[in-house]
Symmetry: C2
Subunit: 407 residues, 2 copies
């Protein structure tokens, strides 16, 4: 359902300054979430640099209306039609166009803009992101599914359309900055760091029976519950390796994870000549967000670069694949390729939700994901997706399989 | 004195393969020193990538002849005419052209080449380096005097001639790689690391009376005695800040030194958005050398990138300007600008030589340099040099002043 406002949109919106020559127009998909709110902070810090053309979100119409007004957007789209009434009433009299439904979110992604921020959480974020990339738009990518579910398709579309992808999560952003446009051919190893999560120093036995509260107590980052659980199992690092493989065209065998509890070094690249370039930042999403929004220029983000002398010590240790089998499982899905990472991610979504609902133990998450992949392999359901629709079909089959295994 | 070989140089030298399309021609000034020998190792590891057009050195004709033959150079020039006989006899019958004198070294620098390696130690390296830069040649810079004595003139000449400068010492090379061509305007702070040298944990009193053997016992790097003493006093970090100021066009107040005893992180850059990019490598000169020789491509250097998980911990602390007053003095000379860094460096050369000769205490080095600068200021001898000749004149006046203060 796409609901267009009956009155014509004014070509100039008096609530925001006219975009100047150096002002970048943004489309923000996921404006009400954690990334969207941090985007708003960065934009507020440099109001002369950015103008917001459109905003979108998954469900919350009232919050989206507030975001649209605060950011001075011309168009606001909520994916879930149930959110339309709140969006419409929140924007009443503002002159901001309101719409709802999947097509409306795609429309928000395709409104004239210099950069599309893809920060809608989950598989619902894939279609609008793919549409923006296929249209040749520069995209700042925070939606994990875009690369995990359909990485090969997305990168091919980006290359064909000439769309630039800017990675917005801290690890890939650090690596993007460390790479600095260099040729991936001379890379010996590309490493993503993991804080190690709350269970870094726990035994495998204790981890297996960890409670919901224990798994949600992340030592470094404040994130949503799903991502926090993935950080405790290290599944998130596996998904990030899959993303890095696609984003940076680095083969799986040259990718690695190192545990770095301080979360200051987010990623690094070793080159054939012995050089190693590392990307660092305080654990504050405003830094990678500001980097993407302003790229190739830079703006103040409100976050300050880490002071290494004050930090005194940065420590590193190898990731323990026995204690954290989710990471090993993700690495093998990456090596398998095709639809395996898609299925892995979808099964993990269902398994983590089951853990958060108290239906399974923490230690059962990875087994459930592994059994889903086995069942799908046995049923020949893990094909190489040729379209985004096929990738999403594998995603939904995997979810159903995992749900079935839970019953 | 320039002694040209009487017989014509063959246009194709059968000892080396014909330079292929991807082969880079090098002129190596300082072929017999530590940097020159490491260059030879890197070249030997990628013989299809490099051809050596010319070599030069300061004094040792016999060693230069051996280097010329090993590298397959067509032309060899020794700066000190006293080395000519050894060079000539060492090259007898080889077909390699031998020459001596300052002009011959300039000729070596200007032989057709894709990259000039400037690694002759001391002020004698400045003129041929400046000649290569003024001729628009790409120059890999290991000679400290080029930027310390005449940084403004050198950078202006490089800009005018379109000459690319590649920094070859580990700190500036790390920063060059971390910068990756980005705009220096968005840099908040550029930091060079110091191992801290042998006296990092000593008291100021004990440092003042350190012996020659104690000062030469550097914990991380094997270098010549002059540089090792400068590493113990941290004067070398002051000189490196002066170089960084010119190389990267970063104002003095945005430059910093941090002590990092492991010597793995060599430099890093903090940007306005909170991003920090660091350049790391094992303490092995083959990495920055290979980086410069192959730039913008990369070759194997024989050195492997550091394994952070094996290193386990990297530590950082602020540099102590009270315990290491040479660093404070260099920072103030950088702030003063003009001929002050030139005079500082020259006075330090004489003072360090006096310490190595047992004539003064370690703690007297910095005082002698400071008194030289004071005497020169009082005599209005620290002008802003308008030519390299004027910079070298300030250099020699400072050396004479320091020598006079020692008498």
């Amino acid at each position: 359902m796409t609901a267009l406002k009956p009155v014509p949109v004014p070509s100039f919106d008096e609530r925001t300054p006219a975009p100047g020559a150096g002002q970048k127009r943004l489309a923000i998909l996921g404006a009400t979430g954690s990334i969207g709110r941090s985007c708003a902070q960065v934009i507020a810090g440099s109001p002369d640099r950015f103008a917001v053309a459109s905003v979108a979100s998954g469900r919350d119409g009232a919050a989206l209306a507030r975001a649209a007004l605060a950011l001075g957007a011309d168009f606001a789209a909520v994916a879930d039609p149930a959110g339309y009434a709140d969006l419409k009433s929140g924007l009443s009299g503002s002159g901001v166009e309101a719409a709802a439904g999947a097509d409306a979110v795609v429309e928000a992604a395709l409104r004239p803009a210099d950069l599309v921020v893809s920060a809608i959480v989950g598989a619902v974020g894939l279609a609008p992101t793919f549409a923006a990339i296929s249209a040749g738009r520069a995209v700042a990518l925070a939606n994990k599914e875009t690369l995990v579910c359909a990485g090969s398709l997305v990168m091919a579309a980006a290359q064909q359309a000439g769309a630039r992808l800017l990675p917005m999560d801290s690890e890939h952003n650090a690596i993007f900055q460390a790479l600095g446009g260099r040729d991936p051919a001379s890379i010996v190893r590309m490493t993503i760091t993991a804080s190690g999560g709350p269970f870094r120093q726990w035994s495998a036995e204790r981890i297996a029976s960890a409670t919901r509260a224990e798994a949600l107590a992340h030592p470094k980052w404040a994130m949503g519950p799903k991502v926090t659980i993935d950080s405790a199992s290290l599944m998130n690092k596996g998904l990030e390796l899959i993303e890095a493989h696609h984003l940076f065209a680095v083969p799986a065998e040259r990718l690695a994870v190192v545990v770095h509890p301080q979360s200051i070094v987010h990623g690094f690249i070793a080159f054939v000549d012995g050089s190693l370039i590392a990307g660092l930042a305080s654990p504050d999403m405003r830094t990678p967000i500001a980097h993407c929004l302003a790229y190739p220029e830079r703006v103040h983000s409100g976050a300050v670069a880490p002071d290494l002398a004050s930090l005194a010590s940065l420590t590193f240790e190898n990731a323990d694949l026995v204690k954290f089998p989710a990471l090993a499982l993700a690495i093998s899905a990456l090596a398998e390729g095709g639809g395996a990472p898609t299925a892995l991610n979808a099964a993990n979504e269902v398994a983590v939700a089951a853990f958060l609902d108290g239906r399974i133990a923490f230690g059962a998450i990875v087994g459930l994901v592994a059994r889903t992949l086995e069942a799908m392999r046995a049923a020949a359901e893990i094909s190489i997706p040729a379209t985004v629709a096929q990738a999403l079909a594998i995603h939904h089959i995997a979810r159903d399989r995992t749900t079935g295994l839970l019953a």
